[in-house]
């Protein structure tokens, strides 16, 4: 197993700076995700790790070994391409055995290892097919088997699920994750789907244009987004713009632009007068009948503008002073009593608030 260290990587294509000073430390056996919007430089970063793009600046280390000048075929990474890149002129078996042949493994061992790899991804009986006789999900598994069979030091996955339908995507990401845990391979996964990223990663890095914006465990990033970009990218969130009015030891009072007072549990580094965004996840907002009060919670009054049924939950949009606040509710009782256009009161706990400093 190796750990991967990127130091200040820079890559430009002509005048476009695709990757602009990316530094990351990825530990042994970690499932690490690069998450970011289209065109932010995820693929370019991954390709530099695989050796297909030469960085203009910065270093890549596997276990403290400088990799910049090692050609791609000597890096022992296993990459799963976005379009799978299965070779149409070879059978599934040949596709998977290719990497082993390159490593001059004896024929008998190749047979065994290919068989094991295909079984691992649940394609035991498919060895003799050609790629065009497989479904999208099966192709993806072949690509995965092909990358895994060489026992790579690092597994690189570039949006491997983006060509699959929603249901298959969820299944496959579970499979990838459990395989990775079983084999304990250091894995770098690229996606622009935040749900996928939060679901599979040990840690993830959110990328803006060419730059890393925040690195952390999914729960950390989800509950504590560092800035508005991360917050809005990582999922639907309610944001209130305000100023810190009181910063005490245990609690912080923020006065929003609309004149609301919101009380949050004290976090470090908050000073009076600081401009902040108050962020609250919809699932942490409760909807009550109009007039609800609670001494420990923040409450806001408004009118129900919309109710969306999203399967197990209902999403309420409550308008208060021109601002829409989203609340996801599981309780069916609220649905019975509250109707579209009714006045209502929402509440959320102090602990559920994260404060994002505006710079």
């Amino acid at each position: 197993m190796v750990d991967v260290k990127l130091e200040n990587l820079v890559k430009a294509f002509g005048s476009v700076i695709a990757v602009d000073g990316v530094s990351l430390q990825i530990s042994k056996s970690e499932f690490f995700t690069l998450l970011g919007p289209s065109g932010c430089g995820k693929t370019t970063t991954l390709r530099m790790i695989a050796g297909f793009n030469q960085p203009d600046n910065g270093e890549i280390y596997f276990n403290d070994r400088l990799m910049n000048y090692v050609p791609p075929d000597k890096r022992n990474t296993g990459m799963v391409f976005q379009n799978y890149a299965l070779w149409p002129h070879m059978s599934v078996f040949k596709n998977v055995s290719f990497g082993l042949e390159m490593r001059k493994i004896p024929g008998q061992e190749i047979k065994e290892r290919v068989k094991a790899a295909l079984n691992l991804v649940g394609l035991g009986g498919f060895a003799d097919r050609t790629p065009d006789q497989l479904s999208g999900g099966q192709q993806q598994r072949v690509a995965l088997a092909r990358a895994l069979v060489i026992e790579p030091d690092v597994l690189l996955l570039d949006e491997p699920l983006s060509n699959l339908d929603a249901k298959l995507r969820v299944e496959m990401r579970k499979e990838i994750k459990s395989l990775q845990k079983k084999l304990a391979i250091t894995t770098i996964y690229v996606t622009h789907d935040q749900k996928e990223a939060l679901a599979v990663s040990d840690r993830l890095a959110v990328m803006g244009i060419g730059k890393i914006v925040q690195v952390g465990a999914p729960s950390e990033i989800y509950s504590n987004p560092k800035n508005r970009f991360v917050a809005s990218f990582i999922g639907l969130i309610n944001l209130f713009h305000g100023k810190v009015a009181v910063a005490k030891e245990k609690e912080v009072v923020i006065k929003t632009r609309m004149g609301l007072e919101i009380v949050a549990s004290a976090l470090d580094e908050v000073n009076t007068g600081m401009e902040v965004l108050v962020a609250v996840r919809p699932e942490n907002v409760e909807v009550h009948r109009y007039g609800f009060t609670h001494p420990q919670k923040n409450v806001i009054n408004g009118v129900i503008e919309a109710i969306e049924y999203l399967g197990s939950i209902s999403r309420y949009s409550i308008k208060s002073d021109q601002k829409i606040i989203n609340a996801d509710q599981y309780s069916p009782e609220a649905e019975e009593t509250l109707q579209l256009g009714d006045k209502a009161t929402i509440s959320f706990e102090r602990e559920h608030i994260s404060l994002i400093e505006i710079l």
Partner: protein, 591 residues
């Protein structure tokens, strides 16, 4: 940080590009650049130089002056240009309507006509010209038939000289019969690529009829037409076979040929004429490529099912369409019928038109006479080697152009496409000038047959590059990267991934190259090496056909039999190509 890096990067970009190119690519660049330089650039340069060499030694414009002041050369140029334009006009007048009808209407018998429309391309023009003369010329089958018909009707018309006189019009007629499918195929390729919804949305916005045609359909169909038109124009302008066959000397390319070939001819004027013709070709090429990407068009997809909306033609329209197409096809198969009649029937008495019987006599003679059987073997050898050579060079150049970045890339692109606009006669002339100097004792490169292989390969290189370019673009780069990621070296990736994937396309391209070389006329007539692969006869088929066609009446028939061999090879080749490309053959035709 990023800014600093990018500025630094730009400053040394050439150096960096040179360093970043891998060793394999570097070898390929150097090898292909050397070949192109020696076998394309240098010969042309030599001709240009020769054009300025004055007869009394020294350098000057004397030869050009002579060209501009000699009426026969000017008439030759005028005839060449006029006939190229006339052929273009006539071929368009046939090809464009056929393209519209074929892509827009459904009518009974359409499938058969789709097949029949590529018939004209199956007869090499040289052979076609011979056959047309045999049919419509003096004492030709059709001429004599009509004469007989008129006589029986009591009409007093004398068709003494036949219809094929040494004139521009005969040239235009012969060329048009052969070339109109190029316009048809290219135009319909582009017409069938038009998304029907484009026309529908224009209709939806109120455009109709003529307006729709002018504002939407025409602009969209133009690129394909332009590519086809360019092929026809260049082809006609550089055609040597037709004027030679009908004996029409006041034609630029023919004049250059004659002056150069005959003992004591004005050799420098041949270079001047070559330059003038090349300049016109290059101008046409530039003009068209400014508006149309030749790599995208000028590749003809024969038999590709048009996707455009097709209306069912009404009864009256169907009858009209069928009638015109039938007339067109009948006219277009004159060369085929003529070749068959001349090759396989006994010559009737002078003035008679009914063949005296079927015979294999001429074919047996063609195959048993040593000079002609050697010519067949020679041409097979040359064409095989040339297409083999082109597979590798074409694939290497296309690979560099599609996949690599390196300094001088656009130059490589341009030079490898140059033969497209260079008449065969110019290549022939250049090779003679450049390679006919004695090397050791009396030995010259032009004495040995291999010079023909090289000239064929170089002439057809643009087509090889283009077809390799097309197949390479269909192979996604990630397929190669996947191999390299799994531990394959550059060479290994090339051998086990890239080449197997592009092979069918490359072979299909090579088969077409083979056909074109097998029927190649101009360089075959220009370069006449002495030492062949099978003894002291290096004549390729075209030269042998030419010689026989200038012989007696029986020799002409033997020439036709050699033509039949060319036709059979062409048909087999087209069949293989279609099989390889699964019915969507990307056929590249042209001069």
């Amino acid at each position: 940080m990023g800014k600093v890096a990018s500025i630094k990067g730009r400053g040394s970009s050439v150096l960096k590009a040179l360093r970043s190119i891998d060793r394999l690519s570097l070898i390929l660049v150097i090898a292909s650049a050397t070949l192109l330089f020696v076998f394309i650039f240098l010969p042309i340069f030599t001709i240009v130089y020769n054009a300025f060499e004055e007869p009394d030694g020294g350098i000057g414009l004397k030869n050009f002056e002579n060209f501009w002041t000699t009426p026969s050369y000017l008439r030759g140029l005028r005839n060449s240009v006029i006939s190229a334009f006339l052929t273009l006009a006539l071929a368009s007048a046939i090809g464009v309507p056929v393209a519209f009808v074929m892509t827009r209407y459904n009518f009974p018998g359409k499938r058969i006509f789709t097949l029949l429309t590529i018939l004209p391309l199956m007869v090499p023009p040289f052979v076609g010209a011979l056959a047309i003369t045999g049919m419509l010329g003096r004492n030709g089958t059709i001429t004599n038939f009509l004469q007989w018909l008129f006589q029986s009707l009591g009409l007093d018309v004398a068709l003494e000289g036949g219809f094929i006189q040494p004139s521009i019009f005969s040239i235009v007629f012969i060329q048009t019969l052969h070339l109109w499918p190029l316009i048809y195929l290219n135009t319909s390729a582009s017409l069938s690529k038009i998304d029907p919804t484009l026309e529908e949305s224009a209709k939806n916005l109120g455009a109709s009829g003529l307006k729709l045609f002018r504002r939407v359909t025409l602009p969209l169909a133009f690129p394909g037409f332009a590519a086809g038109a360019l092929l026809v124009f260049l082809w006609s302008l550089s055609d040597l076979g037709t004027p030679i066959m009908i004996n029409f000397p006041e034609y630029s390319v023919f004049q250059a040929f004659t002056e150069f070939i005959i003992e004591g001819g004005y050799k420098e004027i041949a270079s001047v004429i070559s330059i003038v013709i090349t300049a016109i070709s290059a101008l046409a090429l530039l003009l068209v490529t400014r508006y149309v990407g030749l790599k995208e068009y000028a590749v003809v997809r024969a038999g590709a099912a048009p996707r455009a909306i097709q209306r069912k033609a009404g009864k009256k329209l169907s009858v009209m369409i069928l009638l015109s197409l039938t007339i067109l096809i009948i006219a277009s198969v004159i060369p085929h019928i003529g070749t068959l009649i001349m090759a396989f029937t006994t010559r009737p008495a002078y003035g008679d038109w009914i063949p005296r019987g079927v015979t294999m006599e001429y074919m047996i003679r063609a195959l048993s006479e040593e000079s002609s059987s050697t010519a067949v073997a020679n041409s097979l050898t040359y064409s095989l080697l040339a297409s083999f050579f082109d597979i590798f060079l074409g694939a290497a150049i296309a690979y560099l152009l599609v996949r690599k970045k390196f300094p001088g890339k656009s130059l490589l692109d341009i030079v490898s496409m140059m033969p497209f606009a260079i008449p065969g006669i110019v290549i022939g002339l250049g090779y003679i000038h450049l390679f006919s100097r004695p090397i050791i004792g009396n030995f010259r490169l032009t004495s040995i047959w291999f010079i023909l292989v090289i000239s064929y390969a170089m002439r057809r290189l643009p087509y090889a590059v283009r077809s390799a370019h097309a197949v390479l673009q269909q192979v996604h780069e990630s397929l190669e990267e996947a191999a390299s990621n799994l531990g394959a070296t550059k060479i290994k990736t090339l051998m086990s991934i890239t080449i197997p994937l592009i092979m069918p396309g490359l072979v299909a391209g090579a088969v077409l190259t083979f056909i074109n070389c097998f029927t190649e006329v101009s360089t075959s007539l220009m370069l006449q090496p002495i030492i062949g692969p099978f003894g002291f006869n290096a004549s390729p088929l075209a030269l042998q056909i030419f010689r026989e066609s200038k012989g007696g009446p029986t020799a002409v028939r033997v020439a036709s039999c050699l033509g039949v061999i060319q036709i059979i090879a062409t048909i087999i080749g087209l069949y293989i190509t279609n099989k390889l490309l699964g019915g969507k053959a990307g056929l590249a035709f042209g001069g």
